[in-house]
Symmetry: C2
Subunit: 385 residues, 2 copies
């Protein structure tokens, strides 16, 4: 069944509220402005949404001033689309222009400022040439750069009702897409055909796309969880895992499912059961007052029944929204306190046998009662297809 | 008809040849090593291919030494996949680790070096936190950083026979996908359904995915070329444009097609004709000895019959390969000399009427006889469907 189409974007009030909350935290932090240049942040503050970010050629800049609407400093090719957003002040140049790809525009906009926030911490990249950044800094010797990573990530981590609605829709599409897998995944079908059928089904269910589809199928379990598929046919005794980020109007789901092909051995059944119960522990722990570390430990305690190595994937889930993975991290190092309306993945994994592993993943909203599922809960026992 | 599946990746000799050519140019430039950290460069030198790059959380580093194989310094989650590549020296850490996300590993690897190449120029980004880069530089005060942008882009611009084969396959898949558009795009069909049907067809034709699908449908022409679709139904008198980057084994096609829905007015027919002939001029000019500027001017001369503004898209085509858009640029500023076996897009565009525009795009290989088409040439007259 095709999901009813979602409205595109949000009303202006959504972006205004985000901007005003940013500005109140900027005031507390003594920042005159924040400069953002990556796709999720530009989309978060302006609503500007395009797949054109896949081209690395042109930089895009948005300045959040101390008050008033954000200011866009962007290539002319994006002006028409940006004019459909709530942004009024749109300054453009004809890009690409390797000698001056927005740097003089940016220098002029930043020169009245003294304290500028830029995201330069964990999970961020500099989405402009490093050489241009160095030139910009040399042109603005009196500008103090402050790390705005936590400020911006802190805003984005807690979702509005409208964002949760988008995330619920794409998770429902994802659940329907996973439910159809037994229709076409069976012994003898090449793994890359399974991937293509999965992506086609995601589109048929109403996703804008399924940009992230990874997984594996191998005897008794799999050795890694980030591989592209090859043409090896599914075989009896394989554990098939598909993990997917599908997208609707810029918002992602990110969860996986496991199936045994034809038959399952006891070890794989046990790994599945441990991970299913680890997820239950995560659901119970996903409430305000607990930290990401608490959530990590709740899942780790169950995982340790079968694997006490602590794993090497680095974390047992993360934030979810405009990015497939975003802050926070369910890891021992992350003491972020959980807040109502955070949208998270629970992603317990374990290693077993001779280099095998298994991963479970669900998508949830944090509520005072614990995690509310956005994905349809995986079955309690390893399904055999 | 489904394309026969391509072999995944390349034989080791392909990566060895790339590395050795890099090393000979590094020797000329006095570089001890080059550090790369972005998806296309890591894939180019190692063959490491994963959609996991969509997660911004973890940095990935590959060091090209003065001799011998590249060295991977990567998160443990990628070790299993990297071990399937031709790389032997794989150093890992358990990421994410915000306090030390590979920085101490990298410091140790770089400390014996004096002259390091890093890509910091046009069309590059710093795919690690800026704060971590600053920490790394502070830990290596004797290291001189040289801009390796042109060196690496210069290698990647000229394709091997094996790369051209991959690009020809995905262009054939793209051509078959575009050929099917009249089967489902007609008056009354919502534009976002057209996009979904297009993506599904790309997968059915054998693409690994169609990550980049943009376009528009509007009366007599369109106002921009980077928008996502909405649910507006196609209407008689619309010009429908679809532009797509589809991918096979990491290699992209990138071309578009235009159709008139029901009927076409004379201005749209004329714009189409001018752009078709501009592409012909580009095909003739795409041979060694000419520069990108020459190619730009050959197309511009024809475009000026209808639009002498020079446009504001910034260029009339670009390189194509592991990225949807890569070097060089067909623009007045780019004096890169064309070389045999460069794979390029020809992308003439023009503005007309009240804020309308039209874009044509084909994919070609540079040969001594001019551009050899990889995409099936668009019809000479605006097709009406």
């Amino acid at each position: 069944m095709t999901q009813a189409p979602a409205l595109r974007g949000f009303p202006e009030a959504e972006y205004a509220a985000r901007t005003q909350l940013a500005q109140s935290r900027m005031a507390e932090a003594g920042l005159d402005a924040i400069l953002v240049m990556s796709e999720p942040e530009v989309q978060y503050f302006t609503g500007f949404q395009t797949l054109f970010w896949q081209s690395p050629t042109r930089p895009w800049f948005v300045l959040i001033p101390a008050s008033g609407k954000p200011i866009a400093l962007i290539p002319e090719i994006g002006a028409s689309l940006m004019r459909r957003s709530w942004i009024d002040d749109i300054r453009t140049w004809s890009a690409p222009a390797p000698q001056d790809d927005g740097i003089s525009l940016l220098t002029e906009a930043l020169s009245p400022l003294r304290n500028l926030g830029v995201m330069k911490g964990h999970e961020t990249h500099l989405r402009m040439p490093l050489g241009d950044w160095e030139r910009l800094m040399a042109a603005l010797p009196d500008l103090h750069i402050h790390d705005a990573t936590h400020l911006v990530q802190g805003l984005r981590m807690v979702k509005s009702a409208a964002e949760i609605d988008k995330l619920a829709r794409i998770c429902a599409i994802g659940s329907a897409t996973f439910a159809a897998v037994p229709d076409y995944a069976r012994e003898g079908v090449p793994l890359d055909d399974v991937f293509r059928a999965f992506r086609r089904e995601a589109l048929a269910q109403g996703a804008d796309g399924a940009p992230y589809v990874v997984g594996a199928s191998a005897q008794g379990g799999y050795a890694d969880v980030i591989s592209p598929p090859d043409a090896t046919p599914l075989a009896a005794g394989d554990i098939l895992m598909l993990d997917s980020g599908m997208v609707l109007d810029g918002y992602y789901c990110d969860f996986d499912r496991n199936w045994a092909i034809g038959r399952a051995d006891d070890t794989a059944r046990r790994a599945y059961d441990v991970l299913w119960r680890a997820t239950e522990a995560g659901l119970a722990a996903a409430r305000p007052g607990n930290s990401c570390r608490d959530l990590f430990q709740a899942m780790s305690t169950v995982i340790a029944e079968m694997d006490d190595s602590g794993g090497d994937i680095g974390r047992l889930g993360h934030g979810l929204g405009l990015q497939l993975t975003e802050q926070p991290s369910h890891a021992a190092f992350d003491t972020t306190e959980l807040q109502e309306n955070m949208v998270l993945t629970l992603e317990p994994s374990l290693s077993y046998g001779d280099g095998l592993m298994m991963v479970h993943e669900e998508n949830i909203v944090v509520t005072p009662q614990g995690g509310r599922l956005l994905s349809t809960r995986a079955p309690a026992e390893l399904p055999v297809i």
